[in-house]
């Protein structure tokens, strides 16, 4: 672990010395002309991860509560297996699915979002008038939004299994106490399960966020790279640190590699911080105590 950080730092040293702090503010990526920075790439990475978590969090919580509280016993192991299998499907398969299947389905949704919510900057799209009958769907393809949806499918099982672990550790005495006081199932969940599992919910979400930040192949397959600051998540073109590395490393040489290592180091530091915070939340909460001991 230390070795990974150390060697990345050594290799990245050249790039950092050349650019200094501008590395974090420039948007272009042209290391051979000594003009490069991670501002745009980092922004897209964070946007994809946030969209993924925003979709995955309710899904994961709902599924976890369904598995722990709602589903009858004989179906429970089936649903646990489904979630585990979702975590086991290779990311390249998710990428294929997103590129060839989901994209066609989502274009309509993107168009609807920008038609009705286009006044909100995040959902506006430049270069297409959705009311015009001539508008084609191409401007909505390969967008941050689609990449975020696909990554959310990969994040969901991870967050869900953490939450399921925590929810199933709720002390039976407290659950039965709530029922004995006449609570409905939802009342019990709201007053017992959710407060008990708060640490697990936050921790699971953060773990998912860490995974979403580092996701490579699925994002690489879906997006078409661009290097400018752009908050229009429904619009064609996006980027991420890891797909930048995957795209440029095979053909980079010398200084270009050093720049990529610097980008890698940035990603490394980011995921490390996110996961560290996640582990603090899980460990500090009441719910984490049982799972570690």
């Amino acid at each position: 672990m230390a070795a990974v950080g150390l060697f990345l730092s050594i290799e990245a040293f050249d790039a950092f010395r050349s650019e200094g702090f501008r590395f974090f503010t420039q948007t272009a990526w042209q290391p051979d002309r000594r003009v490069f920075g991670v501002a745009a790439v980092l922004l897209f990475t964070v946007l994809i991860a946030l969209i993924a978590v925003a979709i995955a969090l309710p899904l994961a919580m709902g599924t976890a509560l369904f598995i722990v509280e709602v589903v009858p016993g004989w179906l429970r192991s089936t649903f646990i297996a489904i979630v585990d299998l979702m975590a086991a499907v290779p990311s390249v398969v998710y990428g294929l699915w997103g590129l060839f299947f989901l994209q066609g389905q989502v274009i309509g949704l993107s168009r609807w979002l920008t038609t009705w919510l286009g006044w909100f900057p995040l959902f506006s799209v430049s270069g297409d008038d959705p009311t015009s009958p001539m508008s084609s769907g191409t401007v909505y393809t390969a967008s941050t939004f689609i990449a975020g949806i696909v990554v959310s499918m990969m994040v969901m099982p991870i967050a869900c299994s953490v939450m399921r672990e925590v929810f199933s550790q709720v002390p039976p005495g407290e659950r039965e106490g709530a029922f004995a006081l006449g609570s409905t199932r939802w009342g019990m969940i709201r007053t017992v399960t959710l407060p008990f599992g708060r640490g697990g919910i936050i921790g699971g979400t953060m773990l998912g966020l860490g995974r979403a930040l580092g996701e490579t192949i699925a994002v690489y397959l879906i997006i078409s790279p661009r290097f400018d600051i752009n908050f229009h998540v429904l619009e064609n073109g996006s980027n991420s640190v890891s797909s930048l590395i995957a795209l440029r490393t095979p053909e980079a040489s010398g200084f270009g590699l050093s720049a990529l290592m610097a980008a890698g180091l940035t990603l490394f530091a980011m995921t490390l911080v996110v996961n560290f915070v996640a582990s603090i939340f899980v460990a500090r909460s009441r719910s984490g105590a049982g799972s570690e001991a």
Binding site: L96, G214, L257
Partner: protein, 408 residues
């Protein structure tokens, strides 16, 4: 019953004022009717009818909206609108007989179920779509017996295959196993069996490794192996990168399993005077064997599907290469990746077929792992029990021979 109430309480008060002792409530005059136990778990016919009716009316309302009233279209939109209408109608129907908390409870349960169904549908759609798009290439036997060295991008599906990727994946994962199994088990034993101060450090390092983005594992191996040490891209480098991804998974799941080994087994072993390494080797590890196999299989399932680290360090080739130390080596996920980047339909179909092979492999590994995991730690299979009995009988004979039969 109600009539007795006042007289009973006044009688109790009177007796309490007379002396402070145990107060025995007086028997009620009428015998209480035996209560019939209510079945609270059963789903009543009314519940089923309400559910079915809401679904029917929601679907028909949505069809009306989509077909006649508004120019809406699209499958996702249809499902979302139908579900929203279903929730409203369902809540209305339930509220006819139940109070507010019960209505909220039902609606929330429906939402949780919907989340789980979405998850299941996503999995089915991923697996089904991949198998469907790869079906024409999957059924050709040459997919499993040939490589791509003599096949051009325009050749039909009857020619060429992914044997090179299958061989490469097997070699890479095999090499990674050689590294990760001893190291991972040693780490898990260290974390669970020793009382060293380093444990918390090792544990947090392993946790941080779990979170390492896979592309960075590839970038790290690329920096050290190719740039600093000057070796060429090869299967061995890919195996190292994959090991970095597999190790934390094996350590974490093996540690959980070792924690389940009953403490009295350990204590019994130590009570016979066995040193710690003998306890670990002959008691702890055999007891947890099925769980450890499960941990390794989980690691393999993760490692075989990793694309990003392999992408940077193994190189791309279309011929079979069985030498991991030199020349590029292909693997299954990388083959998928290379196939679908091409615009040729035949190659994309090959890509889907390769993805299907990879996915089936992972699913099979997972199923095997679950079968192993189904058995609790410390429970023996029939054959293991027979073997243990045989060993015990042999030990008894040996002891008898030494002591002249006094012990038995």
């Amino acid at each position: 019953m109600v009539n007795n109430d006042t007289s009973t309480s006044s009688a109790t008060e009177r007796r309490a004022s007379e002396f402070a002792g145990t107060i025995v409530p007086e028997r009620l005059a009428e015998p209480v009717e035996p209560q019939v136990r209510r079945n609270i778990a059963k789903v009543s016919r009314r519940d089923i009818m309400v559910g079915l009716g809401s679904v029917l009316s929601a679907v028909s309302t949505t069809m009306l909206i989509f077909g006649r009233l508004t120019p809406l279209r699209g499958r996702i939109g249809f499902v979302v609108v139908a579900f929203a209408i279903y929730l409203v109608i369902y809540a209305l129907l339930v509220s006819l007989t139940e109070d507010r908390p019960a209505v909220i409870d039902r609606v929330m349960s429906a939402l949780f179920t919907a989340a789980a169904v979405v998850a299941g549908a996503a999995l089915v759609s991923v697996v089904g779509f991949t198998l469907w798009r790869g079906r024409s290439a999957l059924l050709k036997p040459n997919l499993y017996t040939q490589d791509m060295s003599t096949t051009g991008p325009l050749d039909p599906l009857g020619k060429g295959g992914i044997l090179h990727a299958i061989v490469g994946s097997l070699i890479i994962v095999g090499l990674a196993l050689v590294v990760t199994v001893p190291l991972g088990l040693a780490c898990a034993v260290f974390l669970n069996e020793t009382r060293s101060r380093m444990r918390s450090t090792v544990r947090s390092v392993v946790t941080a490794m779990t979170a390492l983005p896979s592309i960075l594992a590839g970038l790290f191996v690329f920096a050290v192996w190719v740039l600093i040490l000057g070796f060429q891209r090869s299967g061995l480098a890919a195996a190292i990168a994959i090991s970095i991804m597999m190790l934390p998974i094996i350590v974490r799941s093996a540690e959980v399993v070792l924690r389940l080994v009953p403490g009295n087994l350990r204590e019994a072993s130590e009570a016979t005077g066995a040193p710690q390494w003998r306890t670990v080797w002959f008691v702890v590890l055999p007891t947890a064997r099925s769980g450890l196999v499960n941990a390794v299989i989980l690691g393999v399932a993760r490692g075989v599907g990793e694309t990003a680290p392999v992408l940077l360090v193994s190189g791309v080739t279309s011929t079979i290469n069985s030498n991991p130390r030199a020349n590029p080596m292909m693997s299954l996920p990388l083959a998928v990746f290379e196939f679908v980047r091409s615009p040729q339909q035949a190659l994309i179909q090959r890509g889907f077929a390769t993805a299907a092979v990879l996915m089936v492999l992972v699913l099979v590994l997972f199923t095997v792992a679950r079968m192993f995991a189904g058995r609790p730690v410390g429970r023996q299979s029939k054959r293991q029990a027979r073997r243990t009995a045989r060993h015990s009988a042999k030990d008894l004979q040996r002891i008898d021979a030494l002591t002249g039969g006094h012990t038995s």
